[in-house]
Amino acid sequence: MCTTCGCGQAAQEHQHSHPHDHHHPHDHDHDHEHDRTLTLEQKILSANDEMAEKNRAWLSENGVVAVNMISAPGSGKTFLLERTLERLNGSVPCAVITGDQQTDNDARRLEGKGAQVRQIETLSACHLDAERVGRLLPEVTADGAKLVFIENVGNLVCPSAFDLGENFKIALLSTTEGEDKPAKYPTLFSLAPVVVLTKMDLAEYLDWDAAKCREYLRGVHPGVFLFELSAKTGEGMDRWIQYLEGLVVA
């Protein structure tokens, strides 16, 4: 039996001096290992969460508001941002950090509208993380931007798990996706305090049921704040712009 731990496994090659005239060649090192439980109770994304907290502190110190915009690919995030930047031009200094797996197409679409724009190409990753966003926050706001739109990678599942340190999440849902998306992908819609229903101009052609969609949304997130708009026709945009202007203290 091993005398260090009493584990019952023979420590090999013991070397003792015995009260007789020859020695037995063994030593006291034992080469087996001891199992033990190391209790950690850490959040799995704690490294990202710590970085997110730093971003949040930075935003608060610098009087900047950041919103994390999440939706499925093709729900109209970039188009809404284009129109939003045009409308906000002058009234609120803005910046955009936009994420895609590949290409800087979105950044190019958003440039020239009075806002600093930075593209993050995530390549294999399906979401933005706090570190990458944190690195860009100071430079993107260097010329005085007070409102930062973080356009996340088009994906309804993964980005909702990664806190970027934003003030809050805004989920977008287009009429073309069907009214039951909130029920199918409840994680995001239960976390985002604001939901924007986009492409409302198409609702009538799609037999899209607004009442049903609102019911699904309120089912997974009672009290959710809702915008219904079309960036293309401008319907509902006034209320959205007023809301954004209200986020930034003049």
Partner: protein, 116 residues
């Protein structure tokens, strides 16, 4: 794939803990995953060996404990476990509820071996 990012973060976290403890080998990684965390148990189990590669986690088993969603009603104060993701109090039907568990994504503990 989202679980691969989670598994990679998990493996890095285990490696940091192993270094701090100067442990030589990890045999079991115990995690708790809430049903509202957006992480799928099977996908995480599949991603874990991929994220481990040749690192210290390649010899370890991942053990996932699922944590059921629990809500507390702000109207009647009772706690219940909703069956679907439409949260309503099981007792009074109110939808004004707080999620008290189910969002967990925790590295709970490791079974490790020390060289002596």
């Amino acid at each position: 794939m989202h679980e691969l990012s989670i598994a990679t973060a998990l493996v890095e976290q285990v490696e940091r803990a192993m270094q701090q403890e100067s442990a030589s080998r990890v045999t079991k990684v115990n995690v708790r995953v809430g049903t509202l965390s957006g992480v799928d148990k099977e996908a995480l189990e599949m991603a874990f060996p991929l994220a481990s590669e040749d690192g210290c986690c390649s010899t370890a088993d991942l053990v996932v404990e699922l944590v059921q969603a629990r809500i507390e009603c702000n109207a009647c104060g009772k706690a219940s476990e909703p069956e679907s993701l439409f949260f309503a109090c099981e007792y009074c039907g109110a939808v004004d509820v707080n999620v008290i568990s189910g969002r967990e994504l925790m590295l709970q503990s490791l079974e490790i071996q020390d060289n002596e």
